[in-house]
Subunit: 304 residues, 2 copies
């Protein structure tokens, strides 16, 4: 499957989950039990939120669950009729932040297919850890639907994994793109602006609001480019180019340390790691990287 | 602000929230208190999850909170420096379903601006009611950040309003569009297929998965069309056209009672309420209506 305007030659990182999620089996306890007893079942080996890696590289899978408790098996899906699981330890362990050294090391060695599995597992496990009690009545919740939900042990309300839509955008004016940096980022790093979408707004309205709040520029048109699942902990990144009516900035110092307008040549230099570039680009696994490349390659807004 | 390819002449219903959300004021207790004491402050009058309506039509606003408790005020935003609030009653009241008669009556009489306010308020209030306890530790949570969050009274974890991304799509093959109906829908009603996006997938992958699960068709290209906030309780509808590689259907009877391929002329007849149309269209306030009109008007996939 391809997108209308692929921003790069490859799919965004953390996408391309190759397992059949088999939604119809999740709610069928007998089918789930049969899959767990399947001789070909594979279990992802984890240590907390970090996957164990195979000697030859890639994710490590075992033939049986390394742990116990039927109730905590998450059905990741099927591949050629072979069920794939991960065991959820209900310990209330907190997910490490994105910038933990071990997460960075893991990302550096996984191939695209493994990154997609890792991302989905990490999002799911982080969600389970933060939903061990029912938000409605406070009673403990139990894993449900093969790990793709939880159910309250008292009021029986079902809870489903959360995915938070985030808009991330390049503002464009006069052939230049707006990039900004947060104070906590690595030295010299600039990227697209971004923010969480709120109840009661379209994707396009969220893009316009964030650009106004963070940089004081007004969007006149918004063009969707691509999307990416981001597993820290579970965002849907919606990447856009926004035409704005002025290049006069009014930056919110609480959000951005600095923002500036850059040319396509400057963006390409940054993406290509040119030491003479005026900024350091976001890493290749971030959708901002693909968005900036899409914009700089001239396939962005206004038929550029 | 306009979209790249507006599917209709007007914004999607429930969008167009005209208040400045004033995010920077939400976390500032002194600023919030000053806004609540503002002589021009307006308070939305609600009865549970239903807005009270003014005699001349539209939402009813009062000059002071009809109730009490400072902690339960939600800052909806500012309009020309005039703060707008709604009071949240922390009663654990359950939001009525979309098809409650009173909700239908309310939707029928509100103008676009009021529908946007109603939608955002309803999403927020429903979220508060389902997050009165901390999912991480089970202790009670308290309203926080002017109503745009809650904080745990024990572990202090912050919780933010949830918005669930949902993909909704017209599959296209040979110049015809795929529409389906669920058994619970009004007689004759058909619409675009839809489903919740899951952790670990792009928007495009979610579209392809839903079409495969529900109708047995394989997407080859996916084109984003438009988005809509849907307040029952809080979805972000992401509307797409998907080219599929065959018109052979394999419908999931658990999801769809029936699905069929329709021509642009048949879609237009349905949207225009023609009694000779082969199906009844979704209502104008649903994004499926705009999506079908966009497709039938020939601005859909493949340069049609």
């Amino acid at each position: 499957m391809s997108m209308a305007s692929p921003p790069t030659d490859r799919l965004p990182d953390f996408s391309g989950y190759h397992l059949d999620r088999a939604d119809h089996l999740r709610a069928d306890p007998a089918a789930l039990a049969a899959l767990m007893a399947h001789t070909q079942a594979r279990w992802l080996c984890m240590e907390g939120f970090d996957p164990l890696l195979a000697e030859e590289g890639g994710l490590l899978w075992s033939e049986g669950p390394q742990g116990t408790q039927e109730a905590s098996a998450i059905l990741l899906g099927l591949h050629q009729d072979c069920p794939h699981f991960v065991l959820l330890e209900e310990t209330g362990l907190e997910a490490p932040t994105f910038r933990s050294p071990r997460v960075m090391e893991t990302l550096a060695v996984l191939n695209a297919q493994d990154m997609a599995i890792f991302g989905a597992v990490r999002s799911l496990m982080a969600w389970h850890g933060q939903h061990r009690f029912c938000g409605r009545c406070g009673a403990p919740t139990l894993l449900h639907r093969g790990g793709w939900g939880r159910r309250c042990s008292a009021c029986e309300r079902e809870h489903f994994p959360r995915v938070d839509p985030v808009v991330i955008m390049v503002a464009e004016h006069g052939g230049r793109a707006l990039v900004g940096r947060q104070a906590a980022w690595p030295t010299g790093r600039y990227s697209a602006l971004a923010g969480f979408l709120e109840p009661g707004e379209t994707m396009e309205e969220a893009v316009a609001r964030e650009l106004w709040e963070e940089a004081g520029v007004r969007a006149t048109r918004v063009h969707y480019v691509t999307s990416q699942p981001w597993p820290f902990p579970a965002q849907l990144m919606l990447a856009c180019v926004a035409e704005v009516d002025s290049d006069l900035l009014n930056t919110d110092a609480n959000e951005l340390e600095h923002a500036m307008w850059v040319t396509p040549a400057e963006v390409l230099a940054a993406l290509n790691g040119d030491p003479a570039a005026p900024f350091a680009a976001p890493p290749p696994y971030a959708v901002a990287h693909a968005l900036l490349r899409h914009w700089a390659a001239g396939t962005g807004a206004g038929g550029r």
